[in-house]
């Protein structure tokens, strides 16, 4: 019995090997055949999509390849994103590999058409990942933004991705990934946002300096693109974005500039910790919405002349800071109300607290939101002032 089984196993192995080796391996791609995409720019034009992508050249081990450009750029067109990507094989010797992309740029027209039609490929394809940053190119075509930035030998898309990650320290930009966008889109009572990117011209001094790359333009990651459902309605600038981030509790660090206690200088407060909460109450059919922010800060720079080492002065600084933050948030809320989209999530809070009522007002919530009066309360605690007791400019007094 044992021998018979042994023979059967041998037979089966022979058959397997015969079949499999005679037909070859499907699905095997060597690393030299795939073109790794670092970033892609999707420009939706009137009847077709123009796709510009950056193919990363692999890093050689021997050092004499330091002069090679780290990435090369190609463009192709098609009716859908996947068709455009396959049409690229008419020009490129590799097949595109979408899995390791760092950032996707969309132009305004594609966002106004409805961003979801372009994101379906990335959701459905088995190669794409959800944690890729997306950005809307403000004011120009997306292909102008791709490929600028970065030091010599550095791939521009990883440079831009790192700049996006920097938004955590200044608060004036937002790094939104595909999965975040889809998550907020499907959530009831909140509208999605996407980070905005634009190009900025280097000024003369910068161009004259000896740098590695003498490009005329640099990427500027600042601001937010505001959506209603999945259609672009407008942009926020840097300060309004920070207000939005305060309200959504996304601030990790940042610098607030406020007036000194004696009014003759300014000081900068570094945000150590910030927490933001939205609160909605419905009483007698009236909506009472509040945004409560609490901040722990550290005084980092002070140019006024008055002595700041007493409680009164610190309290004044705190109040000034709170006032500035309040104005930022108010301006961002006002802009959102202008655009008639609730990106802060007040609808979400209503849905959580008063689900029965939410079912009724669900469809008109954006319009209701634009008429509401929203209170903002900010509390700042400045606990530390750095390692110096007096500011340097205080010596003038004495």
């Amino acid at each position: 019995m044992k021998d018979l089984f042994f023979k059967k196993i041998f037979l089966i192995i022979v058959i397997i090997l015969a079949i499999l080796f005679s037909t070859g391996c499907w699905n095997r791609r060597e690393l030299s055949e795939i073109g790794i995409i670092g970033a892609a720019a999707i420009d939706a034009e009137a009847d077709k999509i123009k796709l510009t992508y950056e193919v990363i050249t692999p890093k050689r081990l021997d050092t004499k390849s330091g002069d090679e450009a780290p990435a090369s750029y190609f463009q192709s067109e098609g009716e859908t994103i996947f068709e455009a990507s396959r049409n690229s094989t008419l020009k490129l010797n590799k097949k595109l590999f979408w899995s390791h992309a760092n950032v996707f740029y969309f132009n305004e027209m594609s966002a106004k058409d409805g961003l979801l039609t372009y994101l379906d490929f990335f959701n459905r394809g088995h190669e794409s990942r959800g944690y890729v940053n997306i950005a809307i190119a403000k004011g120009e075509s997306a292909y102008k933004i791709i490929g600028i930035g970065g030091l010599k030998g550095e791939v521009p898309s990883s440079y831009v991705e790192a700049v996006f990650e920097n938004s955590a320290v200044n608060g004036k930009a937002a790094s939104i990934k595909i999965v975040d966008f889809l998550k907020t889109y499907y959530e009831e009572g909140i509208e999605p946002v996407v980070g905005a990117i634009q190009t900025i011209k280097r000024n003369e001094t910068e161009l004259k300096m000896p740098t590695d790359k003498k490009e005329e333009y640099m990427p500027l990651v600042e601001g937010l693109a505001v959506f209603k459902e999945d259609i672009l309605v407008g942009f926020f600038d840097g300060i309004q974005t920070r207000g939005f981030n305060f309200a959504r509790d996304k601030i990790k660090s940042g610098i607030i500039v406020s007036a000194s206690p004696d009014g003759r200088g300014v000081n900068s407060i570094e945000i150590i910790k910030s927490s933001g909460k939205l609160n909605v109450q419905i009483k007698d059919g009236e909506y009472y919405c509040t945004v409560k922010i609490e901040i722990n800060g550290m005084l980092n720079e002070e140019t006024g002349k008055e002595d700041i080492s007493n409680l009164e002065a610190i309290t004044k600084i705190e109040n000034n800071t709170s006032e500035n933050i309040k104005n930022e948030i108010k301006s961002s809320i006002k802009k959102a109300q202008e655009y008639k989209t609730d990106i802060f999530g007040f609808g979400q809070s209503i849905h959580k607290k008063y689900p029965a009522k939410w079912k009724i007002i669900k469809n008109d919530w954006n319009d209701i939101f634009s008429t509401l009066e929203i209170k903002v309360e900010v509390k700042t605690n400045i606990e530390k002032v750095g390692v110096s007791n007096e500011q340097l400019s205080a010596k003038e007094q004495k």
Partner: protein, 530 residues
């Protein structure tokens, strides 16, 4: 493909099967069908008609039996009273000084009267030989066995029996640390080729009257002595009976090393996993016997088999028990992870690089793509080449004379690797992977055979189908390992079936004071250790 193609395939399969069946029946003979061949070569059992009175006749018979081989010495001497005697012994197996001084000399001096011929039984003859271990020999077969085993036979004219005296003293290796099982902490004795000394080494570890050694002679031509060692009262009776059965069923010409025995008593002949353990150190054998296992010693071999052998023992080392639990546990974890890595790593790397580039972190992918830029082979072939090259290096390293050995291997490996990368034949990443695998292979030397074979199979499977092929191979390996039994005990105890006591010694070695019971999956008798 149409339905017709399927019918064709089925027909082809049936024809191929019939053809292969015929080939098989010729190629693989049944192992146990060759019992008849042994009988023709058997040495004709000598006339057991006993030893005759005439010493010359005895001498002629013995000489013809030994075919006049020059190392069997027939020394004729006379006692003072003129009685002829012959001492028969094999040169260099016998200690000459002991023979001369303590046996022949006193016999010649003491037997100065005719009492020698008058003493017709062995008991009275004994007083002429002032040595211990005298034995009475009554037939030629016994005499021949005795001479071959190293005793000296004294034939005395007029007596129809012979006396055998054991004064063995052949050259043997001194007891030293075995080269393949070195430890930092713990006893460093190792077995040598003489079975008596090996028995003595074990006996000195377990000073217990319940330690039993049973003797067997196996091998028609070599007639090797094989001993079974166990502790009565702790050993499992089923295992012992099974061992005795299997050993007595062996019918073979020669047993030169305990490895030959292993092939006959193991449970599964076609499995690459060995279910019989071996070791060269007495303290390991003693520890295993104390847990209820049976040890098998073989004359002429410095290795000792222990049965049953489970998967857990391959990642254990004797040092684990002589060190404290923390470092023992740390080393066990390293060994376990190294074992898994050495089987799976090349296959895993090849499948990721060729099929699933989405599963590699972006940072690695760009350097990997750069490293494999100029190389002509696909990743699977490269890995196969490197593994074969590694096996070449390993084999030539064992065969090289020690003087050239280290220089060539270091220079060869370094230069070979470096030059191959620069020439663009292989990619640097792959060399790192294979070198890491090679280093990990030697951490668990007991499973070398299984690891090499499985590694190759998994590599081929993953070259065909990526991670799917590799997983199918791993699944088959797990099922195969869990189907093995070593002398009746499942190979993967204590993991599967789960055994709480046994798990205390698996990856985490619990402190000795907490392992109060013997592992009950081996032997159910006498469970308490204290």
């Amino acid at each position: 493909m149409g339905k017709l193609a399927y019918i064709l395939i089925v027909k082809i399969i049936i024809e191929v099967y019939v053809m292969l069946k015929k080939i098989f029946e010729k190629l693989i003979p049944d192992k146990k069908t060759s019992t008849n061949n042994g009988i023709e070569n058997e040495i004709k059992t000598p006339n057991t008609n006993g030893i005759s009175n005439n010493v010359q006749k005895n001498k002629e018979i013995l000489q013809s039996k030994f075919k006049n081989s020059i190392d069997v010495i027939f020394y004729e001497f006379e006692t003072i009273s003129g009685i002829k005697a012959i001492a028969v012994y094999v040169e260099e197996i016998v200690k000459k000084e002991v023979l001369d001084r303590d046996v022949i000399n006193p016999f010649i001096l003491k037997s100065n009267d005719n009492e020698v011929t008058k003493s017709v039984n062995f008991e009275t003859l004994k007083k002429f030989f002032p040595v211990t271990n005298l034995k009475e020999i009554n037939g030629f077969a016994e005499a021949i066995t005795s001479i071959i085993n190293g005793d000296t036979i004294i034939l005395i004219d007029g007596l129809s029996f012979a006396t055998s005296i054991s004064c063995r003293g052949w050259e043997k290796r001194s007891i030293e640390e075995p080269a393949s099982e070195t430890v930092i902490r713990g006893p460093k004795e190792g077995f040598i080729e003489s079975i008596n000394i090996n028995r003595c080494l074990i006996r000195r570890k377990i000073k217990n009257e319940n330690l039993v050694f049973l003797n067997m002679v196996i091998g028609r031509q070599t007639r090797t002595q094989v001993n079974i060692a166990y502790i009565e009262g702790i050993v499992s009776a089923d295992v012992l009976m099974e061992v005795k059965n299997r050993l007595s069923n062996i019918d073979i010409d020669s047993i030169l090393d305990v490895g030959n025995l292993e092939e006959y008593i193991e449970d599964s002949h076609i499995s690459p996993i060995s279910t019989v353990g071996n070791t060269q150190k007495p303290d390991i054998v003693a520890a295993k016997i104390l847990e209820g296992r049976v040890a098998i010693l073989c004359d002429g071999s410095p290795h000792v088999l222990t049965v049953p052998h489970l998967f857990v023992e391959t990642i254990q080392s004797s040092e684990d028990y002589y060190n404290r639990p923390y470092i023992a546990t740390g080393l066990r974890i390293i060994r376990f992870v190294a074992l898994i890595l050495s089987i799976v790593f090349p296959a895993f790397y090849v499948s990721l690089e060729s099929f699933h580039q989405t599963m590699i972190p972006s940072v690695f992918l760009i350097t990997m793509a750069g490293a494999s830029l100029g190389t002509p082979f696909p990743a699977f072939l490269e890995a196969l080449l490197m593994i074969v090259a590694f096996e070449f290096l390993k084999e030539s390293g064992t065969r090289m004379p020690k003087a050239i050995g280290s220089a060539i291997s270091i220079v060869g490996a370094l230069v070979l690797g470096d030059a191959a990368v620069k020439a663009g034949i292989v990619s640097a990443d792959l060399i790192v992977v294979i070198a890491f695998t090679a280093v990990a292979t030697f951490i668990v030397p007991a499973l070398n055979e299984m690891v090499s074979l499985y590694r190759l199979i998994l590599l081929c499977l993953s070259g065909l189908m990526g991670i799917y092929g590799m997983t199918a191979g791993v699944f088959v390996m797990i099922i195969h390992a869990s189907s093995l039994r070593s002398f009746g005990i499942p190979y993967l105890s204590p993991i599967a079936p789960v055994n709480a006591q046994g798990l205390k010694d698996f990856i985490v070695r619990f402190p000795l004071w907490s392992m109060k019971d013997r592992p009950n999956f081996i032997s159910d008798s006498n469970r308490k250790r204290r």
